[in-house]
């Protein structure tokens, strides 16, 4: 009887292990620049949280990795994927920001410097545990063994030389409060982090304001980029992601501004019709519900005045 149980357990664990494979396929998008494109869905047990774009750049000295993904398993899979492409060592991991889908794979990079803006490290220290807990709830066993690992190096915006590659680090804050965008000068690939979402509704927890975000977009668009890797959504070689972001942010801002002006309640706002032109953007209703929760209190307070006596 007992051996049947043991056998069953082994079978289960084998099946489970086979299931928890992210099957990461790096795609070369420019000379020595590789992209790992996630889906535009929400976090789910079916995708293990792989809804994010990560990437890496291979210099003559070694590899620079951009974001570590949503889990320890993802981080490890990313290391293996890199090793399949190049035998050069990983030199450094850069984090675009502190959100769980970008920074919870850090454990797999414990042997190299993990570099981020000071604000990113602070936000990850404050919110990391709670975000990781929520990820366990959302994607389940994919997260096994995942713990928050804080950056070990503080980045300052400006040029960064990695081997023979010269990068520009741009420090912004419109999406999360501390956002890093990375321009590879050699290839013209811009890793925009979550300042750019494309064909996927943008997320707003922690944004200091949509107006700041719009200003950040202006700075990014002015850079000499040739290709854009958004934080979520497909690679682009035109300004289409910028156009869509501006349109969408403007709409979101207008919905809440008008709502506050007209005395709308949150439950009324979250049922606002999504404009036809955003039909191709994944998860717009879901993210509208979230954004109203994050941001509407600011808009409504701005319209209220003291009435106590």
């Amino acid at each position: 009887m007992r051996w049947i149980l043991v056998l069953a357990l082994i079978c289960c664990s084998l099946a489970a292990r086979a299931d928890f494979d992210y099957r990461l396929e790096p795609r070369q998008i420019a000379e020595s620049v590789w992209l790992l494109e996630g889906s535009t869905d929400n976090f789910a047990a079916a995708n293990g949280g792989n809804i994010v774009n990560t990437g890496f750049i291979v210099s003559d000295q070694g590899v620079l990795v951009i974001d570590s993904g949503p889990s320890r398993r993802y981080g490890e899979a990313l290391r293996q994927a890199i090793a399949r492409v190049t035998d050069k060592p990983v030199l450094k991991l850069l984090l675009t920001h502190h959100h769980p889908d970008h920074a919870l794979g850090n454990q797999a990079f414990a042997d190299v410097p993990i570099a981020a803006l000071a604000g990113t490290t602070q936000l990850l220290a404050e919110q990391g545990e709670a975000m990781a807990e929520n990820m366990y709830r959302l994607v389940g066993d994919w997260m096994r063994g995942t713990e928050v690992r804080l950056p070990t190096e503080t980045l300052t915006p400006g040029p960064l030389q990695v081997g023979n590659r010269r990068l520009q680090l741009i420090g912004l804050r419109g999406h999360s409060g501390a956002d890093l965008a990375i321009l590879d000068e050699t290839s013209g690939v811009l890793f925009a982090g979550d300042l750019l979402f494309y064909q996927r509704a943008l997320t707003t927890p922690g944004t200091p304001g949509l107006d700041l975000w719009l200003a950040d977009l202006e700075r990014l668009q002015a850079l000499p980029w040739k290709q854009i890797v958004p934080g979520h959504g497909p690679l682009a070689s035109s300004a289409a992601p910028f156009k869509q972001m501006r349109d969408y942010l403007g709409w979101l801002d207008g919905v809440m501004r008008d709502g506050a002006e007209q005395g709308a309640e949150m439950n009324e706002l979250i049922r606002t019709p999504i404009p036809e032109r955003f039909a191709g953007i994944s998860l717009s209703r879901y993210e509208l519900i979230r954004s109203v929760s994050h941001l509407y209190p600011r808009y409504e307070r701005a319209r209220l005045r003291r009435v106590d006596r």
């Binding site: 807990e133 929520n134 709830r137 927890p205 007209q262 005395g263 309640e265 949150m266 439950n267 009324e268 979250i270 519900i289 979230r290 929760s293 994050h294 209190p297 409504e300 307070r301 319209r303 209220l304 005045r305 003291r306 009435v307 106590d308 006596r309």
Partner: protein, 251 residues
């Protein structure tokens, strides 16, 4: 005593639960309904009734500030009280609302939830029947036991009872939106006893009560609420907390 077949039939009919009596089935999955039916509605007759519109987001993005909105307009002229509660909350009750004639049967407020839960709004009509509106909300949880945001702000005591508000013209009503500065301590956060607004009255210029509202500490910090009135006459909001502090606002 021997019963004839007619008496048996009558008995059998009474033995059927009220909700299977031609009414709707419970639209949410609930393990607590019988308990709340007995405890909050005194076991009185009820129907699950979709005409009581209870709206909430499908999930709580911020479990400390979950917007809910009740609309019982379908029962205009017949309503005595509207009760609302979150079934799986440690502190389930949200409000007990007694709307007068000049107030529409609509109320919006923000609440805390501790976990995914069914939400209920029960409307008592003059015929003694409770009409129960329901919805379900998903949540990561923790809203009731999260540290106070208000108390983390230095000098919050000086702002206690400040009211932000404004009147808005809706298509069919005059809406009062109000936000009252108050920590609404529910006693579940370590070392801080219950301290919350528990009574509110909306009065007209002559002091006549337009609506009465009893509040419970499932209501969020800095309570945010909307009341819809039929006319644009001047109103005064009177509030009291469980420590006896009274606050007033005019709109």
């Amino acid at each position: 005593m021997a019963l004839d077949w007619r008496s048996w039939l009558l008995l059998a009919l009474f033995a059927l639960p009220w909700d299977s009596w031609g009414g709707e089935a419970d639209p949410v999955t609930s393990v607590m309904w019988d308990y709340y039916h007995a405890r909050l509605l005194d076991g009185a007759p009820f129907v699950f009734d979709q005409r009581v519109k209870l709206q909430a987001p499908p999930f709580a993005e911020d479990a400390r500030q979950v917007p809910i909105q009740v609309d019982a307009s379908a029962f205009a002229g017949q309503v005595e009280r509207i009760l609302a509660w979150a079934e799986l909350n440690p502190i389930p009750q949200i409000f007990d609302f007694a709307p007068g004639e000049r107030v529409l049967l609509r109320l919006a407020i923000r609440i805390r939830i501790e976990q995914a839960t069914p939400l209920r709004a029960a409307v008592l009509t003059r015929d003694g029947l409770w009409h129960v509106g329901s919805t379900q909300i998903d949540a990561a949880g923790g809203g009731c036991t999260a540290p106070s945001v208000v108390r983390a702000q230095a000098g919050w005591e000086e702002h206690l009872g400040e009211v932000l508000g404004r009147r808005f013209v809706l298509a069919d009503a005059s809406r009062l939106r109000l936000q009252i500065a108050h920590p609404m301590d529910n006693g579940l956060v370590g070392g801080i006893p219950e301290f919350y607004l528990n009574q509110a009255e909306l009065r007209d210029a002559s002091g006549k009560i337009l609506a009465r509202l009893e509040l419970f500490p499932a209501v969020s910090e800095n309570p945010t609420l909307s009341l819809d009135l039929k006319d644009e006459g001047e109103t005064e909001l009177w509030l009291r907390d469980n420590n006896g502090n009274e606050f007033k606002a005019a709109l």
